[in-house]
Each structure stands twice: as C-alpha cells, then as structure tokens.
Symmetry: C2
Subunit: 271 residues, 2 copies
C-alpha cells in the first residue's frame, strides 16, 4: 500500500538562509527507506496564521502522515502548537501527562547539576500546553514533548526542531508506525556514475531503459557542467520482496551501462 507523508518545517531560520534544512532531509530519507512516499515538504515562518494555513492545506490533501518539526520550545516564537490548534479549531490546554513529562525532565536536570528543582515557569508550562484531544509523546533527549493528533485519515505528529530531539522521537515513535502502515513494501536505490556523455544524449537512453524495466525510475543528476559532463544516474524502485525489486534495479542498471558504453561513455557502478 502506498503511504503518503508530508513534512512541514516551521522556522524563520530556514527561510532566511540561516539554517540548512537538514531535518527535512533526514526525515525524507528515513521515511523513504521505510517505504513511505514523501510527497511534499513545506517550510513556513514562525507565524500562527501561516502554520495554521499550511496545516489545513496539508490535511486537505489527506496524506496518511504529516510530520512537523520546529516551534515546540519555551520561547515566544515557538508557535507550532498554537498554529495546529487553530488549524484544528481546538483550544490549547495544559495537558497533565505532558506537564508530568516536562517536570520530570527538569527534576532530572536539577539532579544532574545537584541543584534544587527550579520552578515550572510560564515558559516551561508552555511546552505542556497542547491542543485539546492530542497526545504528548516522550522526548527521550529534550524537554519539549512531541505531540500526536489522530485526525480523519491522517496522523499528525509535531516534533521539536532540535535535530537530536526530532531524530530521537521519529526513530522511537514514528518509524515503527510508518513501517506498520507500509507493510512489507521496500525501497531500493542504486547509483552509477557516467562520464563522457552529455545529459541531453543520455536522456533517450534513460527513456529506453525505463520503458523496458517497469517500476524502475531513473533520474540523472549532472555533477560537472554539460560541457564537461559527469552524471550520476540514480535508480530507484519500490515493491514487495516477492517482486524482487533489487534484481530489477540491477538489471536496469546493467542495461543503462551497456547503452552508455556503446555510445562511447564510461559507466562506474557505485559499490
């Protein structure tokens, strides 16, 4: 079964070119390797209206999963939960389970520093203030819990933007759920580097190999210039193990290598 997922990243730093969006890259890779189909990544500003709008739009497309990252922390500009609440037309309320999670984390920190537990300030309570009828998710490495909302046909997860926290929650909670939804479908990929052939000359060869090898998708990535070409051919396929996707991929790769070499180029398969 095809499982669609969308990623929403919240944060001005991603739009102003301060921070490279490695979170979207990391999540895209994990989800794809599990066998999900990542259909869209959207990056929006730390503005409640914008977060609400992009969440509504994603929900209307009805992917099975939406994962947001960023905007769950203690500062004024952490507005993701407010945005999601607005999108779902739900109020925000202090979630007792989330509050316990946040408290426990600060007790732990105080212990580590051998200090008395500092008070639960407004900024800390904010991290436990969730849209009604959503669930906090354990954050094994940070203070802000993740959030899960089960909606009509879509499970929405909100994760923190700190990479280590996002990765820990994704791995612990989202990956197993994705795997379960995807079933035994696997994703396979192979790369081959082509020299001495221009992309415009390679184009019809790719068409030939794709026509002859149903299910195999071949994308060319120019790495030099068109005038001094080195091209990575990236071959992908998804399927159940019985369909032997990796065998199909290797067959297609060999055929493409043959065509490129017959044309005077050189093909080097990635090990």
């Amino acid at each position: 079964m095809t499982v669609d997922m969308e990623i929403i990243c919240v944060g001005n730093e991603l739009l102003i070119g301060k921070t490279v969006n490695t979170n979207a890259h990391w999540m895209g890779k994990q989800a794809t390797n599990i066998g999900a189909n990542v259909k869209r990544i959207t990056v929006v500003q730390d503005v409640v209206e914008e977060i609400a709008k992009v969440t509504c739009e994603a929900l209307q497309r009805k992917p099975q999963f939406i994962v947001t990252s960023g905007g769950l922390g203690p500062t004024f500009d952490d507005k993701t939960l407010e945005g999601i609440a607005k999108a779902l037309n739900r109020k925000l309320e202090i979630n007792p389970k989330a509050l316990e999670m946040v408290k426990a984390r600060y007790v732990e920190i105080a212990k580590r520093w051998n200090q008395p537990m500092s008070e639960m300030t407004a900024a800390r309570v904010k991290m436990a203030t969730l849209p009604v009828k959503t669930e906090p998710i354990d954050n094994p490495v940070g203070t802000a819990p993740g959030v899960r909302a089960d909606l009509d046909g879509t499970v929405l997860f909100a994760l923190p933007g700190v990479p280590a926290e996002m990765e820990a929650i994704f791995t612990q909670t989202i990956a197993p759920l994705l795997k379960q939804a995807v079933g035994d479908r696997v994703f396979c990929e192979k790369s081959m580097f082509l020299e001495g052939i221009m992309e415009s000359r390679l184009a019809p060869l790719i068409n030939r190999v794709m026509s002859a090898n149903s299910g195999v998708y071949i994308k060319s990535h120019p790495m030099g210039a068109e005038s001094k070409p080195c091209i990575e051919a990236h071959l992908t396929i998804s399927g159940s193990p019985e369909e032997k996707p990796m065998e199909k991929l290797v067959k297609a790769m060999k055929e493409l290598a043959g065509l490129v070499e017959a044309d005077g180029g050189k093909a080097i398969a990635q090990q």
Copy 2:
C-alpha cells in the same frame, strides 16, 4: 516596501533524502540579505500535476516573486515548464529566442571539444520549449535557459536545479530586480552565544528586550541540550537606513547580554 517571495523546489531527490536542499537555503539567504521577505519554501515531486498545483497555490497568495528551481533539463523527469504551463493554462511552444540560446551553447561546447556541432535532438529542443508568453533568461553557465513569466502582480522565475546554474541566473537577473523592488530597505543580523542559561529561563529575558526594542526580532537556537545549554541568540531587523537598524540591533544585543549576565550566564558576541 515589503517584498514577499516564495521558493518552489522541484525534485524527488529532495523528498527522498538523497540531496540536501542547499538551493532553497542559498536563495533564501540572498533574497533576505537584499531585504525581501521569504515567506514559504515548497518542495514537490517531479510530477506535472503536483508542480501545477503548487504553482497555482503560490500564485493565489500573490507574492511579488516566485522562484522555482529544478526540472528544466533535457530528461523525461524535467517537468517544471509543463507544470507551470498547466498552472497558467497556457500551451508549451518552441520559443525561438530560447532555441537560439540552447543552440549557441552546444556550438560553444562543440568548439571547445573541437568537434562538429551535434544535432539539436528532441531532448535539447525540450529545453527551449516554454509556456507561451514567457521569456527565456540567459543561463551564463549551462544549457537550459531560465524562464520568466510576468503575471498578475507576480513575477515568476523558473531556474535550473544545478546549483552553479541557479546561482548564476539568480545573481545576474533576479537579484537586481529584487533590489529594485525592495528599495533602500536593509536587513541586519547579529549573533550572540549564551552559556550557562537554559532556554526556558532565557525566554522571558528575550520578551523583555523585544518589548523595549521595537522592530528587533530575537530567536534562540539551542545548540547543546537543555541540560547543558549553549544557545545562539540570533537578532534580526529590517528597515531603511534612516531608521538606523544596525544601531537598534546592537543596543538590543547589549541589553540581552546584560540580562543574561545578571542571571549568572555568559554572553559572547559574534565578531
């Protein structure tokens, strides 16, 4: 005047976690430094319907500029112009000016290799096949021209996905236009590294400094863990030179440093 811009990146490789989206990061940085307001980045698959949908959606939000990157090359999966044509409800046609540009590039390449000019194959003509009533833009370093469409209140640019080509066209053609639209507005930023203060404790201090310094935006970026905190405080402001934005920024930074140090933390301004 506030000049809104949206970025659309086309390419499966960005969604499956093969390629980090450095193009969006680079364009976001350039546009922000010029003084534009980058409101959204959207990444979509190499699917005509998806490209058309996301282009329509962006146009409905009426930003002054939309810049797409990716999908202008010679291969079957380069579908951006087909997607844009669909969004604009226009046909694709061979653009004579674009065809001359593409031809000239291949003549150049043949000369450099001391070979006869190879023919204008379907794959090459494809790069000169543009939606009607759009303009090709000189690509100083690659074969696929960029494309410009002047629409109702929005100028849409389509750029190649190869970073060197995208950057060259952006710098040569888009940056001067953005600058003209933005006028004398400038964007300023400063960073300060804070140690020995947790983000949840920093939050109310940021609120105080922002209330006292209108126009200054302060965002905290945790770099360690909440339990062993090192936080980057990133201060930004936009304004005309008469508003002395950099002076305002430096004043706010000093105030925040004072509050953090009064709290027992340490503040190190970035040089």
